[in-house]
């Protein structure tokens, strides 16, 4: 056995491929003491992929091969996992997947299409923040545990939540006490001012935003009016751009709270 292992560095590509075929053909994935993990450093990526998928099919020791396989093989594995509705531990492979693959898997997990997936385990590797925001909103809406999602939820989403709370768009039973410690200072202030019944200045998303004052000019002149009109137009365009960007989050929030359009 040791003899075969010791020879691995000296085998040519054809011999290594033949050995890999024999390992794959063996029910216990072992040939003369050689296992997939022994072969992986010497094989081409294509052959490692083949070996990897063979181990996945056998539910064998595929985890050790992950650093050597291609992104395509990992994606195939995720597809297999999605098709089978789970059953394969793909979360531990997340660090090695490309961003798009992790995002796809996370989106399916949030949608409940792969019930066996540990959604929380994927969180650190999700690149699209809006997916996490949607998962958070969904958890809030369904009264599920959302605390573990909090560190990953965008400040933009938390701000929208704070706004919705202060505008009375949330269920009265909504527990803001669990969330305010994770918000930005301005949002915390807005919530406390709201709770104290004081006027708020925390909403910067709509018409409340005014162009800067032109203190050195006499108000009422045509120039100032034109400047204000131009600044308003620019501000409206900016607001529109921002709203386009946060549209998915806003729509999800509206789904929950049934609020009016804030624009």
């Amino acid at each position: 056995m040791k003899k075969m292992l010791g020879m691995l560095p000296f085998l040519d590509e054809t011999q290594l491929d033949e050995l890999a075929d024999k390992v794959m053909a063996a029910p216990d994935s072992q040939y003369e003491g050689v296992r997939p993990i022994h072969l992986a450093p010497f094989l081409s990526t294509a052959k490692v992929d083949e070996l990897f998928l063979s181990e996945v099919r056998k539910n064998g020791a595929y985890h050790g091969l992950v650093p050597f396989v291609s992104g395509q093989a990992l994606e195939d594995m995720v597809d297999r996992c999605l098709a089978s509705g789970g059953g394969i531990d793909v979360v531990s492979l997340a660090p090695f997947m490309d961003d798009g693959t992790v995002d796809k898997l996370f989106a399916k997990a949030v949608a409940g299409e792969v019930p066996g997936i540990d959604m929380i385990g994927l969180l650190p590797f999700v690149s699209d923040d809006s997916l996490i925001d949607e998962a958070f909103i969904q958890a809030v809406r369904q009264g599920k545990e959302y605390r573990k999602l909090l560190p990953f939820v965008s400040n933009r989403c938390m701000h929208k939540l704070a706004q919705a709370y202060c505008q009375g768009q949330l269920d009265p039973a909504f527990d803001i006490d669990q969330l305010y410690p994770f918000m930005e200072d301005d949002d915390i202030k807005m919530i406390f001012h709201h709770a104290m019944g004081q006027p708020q200045d925390g909403d910067h998303d709509g018409e409340a935003d005014q162009p800067p004052r032109h203190d050195g000019m006499q108000e009422g002149t045509e120039d100032v009016k034109n400047d204000i009109a131009a600044a308003k137009k620019e501000a409206n365009a900016t607001v529109k751009a921002v709203m386009d960007e946060v549209g998915p989050v806003m729509r999800a929030l509206k789904d929950i709270f049934g609020g009016k359009d804030e624009q």
Binding site: G121, L150, D177, F192
Partner: protein, 150 residues
């Protein structure tokens, strides 16, 4: 960005200087004495309503009670002591809380380690990569190393 520990110390300081016992505060706010104790230890925060009530009792603003605008202080020997873990991890990842990551890495759970390592890998969080490398598990090292090979 609330500092649970600082808020707890603030509540304790204001309560004692105002001459209230924990029992009196608990009775006034209809909470248990243990709840007041947990606030003062920085384990939990009062609800919004209770915090407003406390600020009225102590005649200070809620901003002062919540220590808004201050940078959280952590004990390097136990960065999570008196703080919410998720809160600490988030503040480290966003760069608000500065820590010597290689020195405190052992204090994170496996999942938390991957969270901060991802932030380092993406350049979101600064850390001494050489010092960090020797603290990593083989899988973590592989994860961090992928970026170099690509």
């Amino acid at each position: 960005m609330l500092d649970f520990k600082a808020i707890g110390e603030k509540i304790h300081q204001l309560r004692t200087s105002s001459g209230y016992s924990q029992d009196q505060i608990a009775e006034a706010l209809f909470v248990s004495r243990q709840a007041v104790s947990r606030w003062e230890l920085g384990q939990t925060l009062p609800s919004v309503d209770n915090l407003i009530e406390l600020s009225r009792m102590f005649n200070v603003s809620f901003e002062e009670m919540l220590c808004l605008g201050t940078v959280p202080q952590v004990d390097p020997a136990n960065i999570f002591a008196g703080h919410d873990r998720a809160f600490i991890v988030k503040d480290i990842v966003t760069g608000r809380l500065k820590v010597d990551l290689p020195a405190v890495l052992y204090q994170f759970s496996d999942a938390e380690r991957m969270i901060v390592l991802k932030a380092v890998k993406q350049g979101q969080l600064e850390a001494d990569r050489d010092a960090l490398r020797v603290k990593l598990t083989p899988a973590e090292a592989e994860y961090m190393g992928q970026e170099v090979r690509r």
